[in-house]
Symmetry: C2
Subunit: 224 residues, 2 copies
């Protein structure tokens, strides 16, 4: 796929198309690659997101603003936005990365999105980068709740229970299945005092626990 579709999706037309080509070039492909643009884009993104959060949440204090920003600029969020732009189709990767599926690796996708932000910033200035970031991130920003965001389900569950002076939940591994390189964990999270329990699954014990804690939180929230 060419980059025309990408240009339409990001909504920014480059004066210097070489900048976009560089932003799409992973270091495995050779020079000039996108790492310096990524350095720049990372801080432009952080600044633009901070600005939007500052104006969107006029009564939220610094700690919560920081946690919201951290959630919005973390690798997972960036790689999801990159996927929604089909960035993987436009990447220039070296042989090895191509064969190992680098075009769908979250870290590469996230870094490339930052590099594109850096390229737009160099090409069109801070305002252009800020506008593109607003378009890409606004749906996510509006959905954020400063009170819960950035906190994982286990933390939220723990805070919920501590607020009610209840004992902490217990987590029990129910099963581990699959080969060593792609194991699957099933974990149960239980709150005996409330008679609530739920299961969760994941590729690690930690992620299964988070899933299970999230399900328990859903039960507790739906019970009011």
């Amino acid at each position: 796929m060419g980059t025309e579709a990408l240009v339409r999706r990001i909504g920014y037309e480059f004066k210097d198309p070489a900048l976009l080509r560089r932003a799409l070039t992973h270091r495995s492909y050779g020079m000039p690659h996108n790492e310096r643009l990524e350095f720049l884009g990372d801080s432009v993104l952080s600044c633009a997101i901070a600005t939007h959060l500052y104006h969107l949440h006029t009564r939220v204090q610094e700690g919560d603003l920081s946690r919201m920003r951290a959630h919005l600029v973390k690798e997972l969020t960036l790689s999801e936005i990159a996927s929604s732009l089909n960035l993987g189709d436009c990447l220039k990767l070296g042989e090895g990365e191509l064969k190992s599926g680098g075009f769908r690796r979250p870290s590469i996708l996230a870094d490339t999105l930052e590099a594109i932000i850096g390229a737009v910033y160099l090409d069109g200035g801070f305002a252009s980068a800020e506008q593109m970031i607003a378009r890409l991130f606004e749906p996510l920003m509006k959905g954020l709740d400063p009170k819960t965001l950035g906190k994982d389900p286990k933390t939220l569950l723990q805070e919920y229970l501590q607020g009610r002076k209840l004992p902490l939940p217990s987590y029990t591994v129910l099963s581990i299945s699959g080969e060593a390189h792609e194991q699957h964990f099933e974990v149960e999270c239980a709150i005996p005092d409330l008679g609530v329990r739920a299961c969760g699954g994941g590729v690690s014990r930690r992620s299964a626990e988070q899933q299970a804690a999230g399900s328990v939180m859903q039960i507790l929230n739906s019970e009011g």
Copy 2:
């Protein structure tokens, strides 16, 4: 002291002077304080410094750029710039902080400088903040060497020795003096293979070791 002198030193005249007052107000003084401005200023500073380093060092890779930026935005650097602006004289602090000397605490000075940057950004836009940052940081930025910067003396000494396949230096505490809350350490750093040794002092063992390593590096560099 009023803020007129500060305005002259930072070289930016506020359209909305209330923003500068807020930037100078520590949370111990009461609302509205400067923490949200500090959140904003922190990321504006990071972005402006990244931009300057990107253009100043056209062949330096991302890792070295990141280390240079980290050095420029760290608390010590910010508090030194804040001191050179006599920021401490303009701070609004609560009783407790006033009595305990908060106006010269590095963390408070550094945070206040970030808050001022955030205030200039809100008042005059990114370009105004960037210009002020350039004025305040340019002398420091020009003095940076991407090869050594951000590395502490112990790391530099270790790299020097490893590059020559020599054994690592030895550090020996020579003395510890003073009361528990203000101890002074004297440490010797020795490179037996080169017949070089030097002493260093500091308020912690670590800082004394860094001092000693720095003195050894000076001897080695002066010997060519």
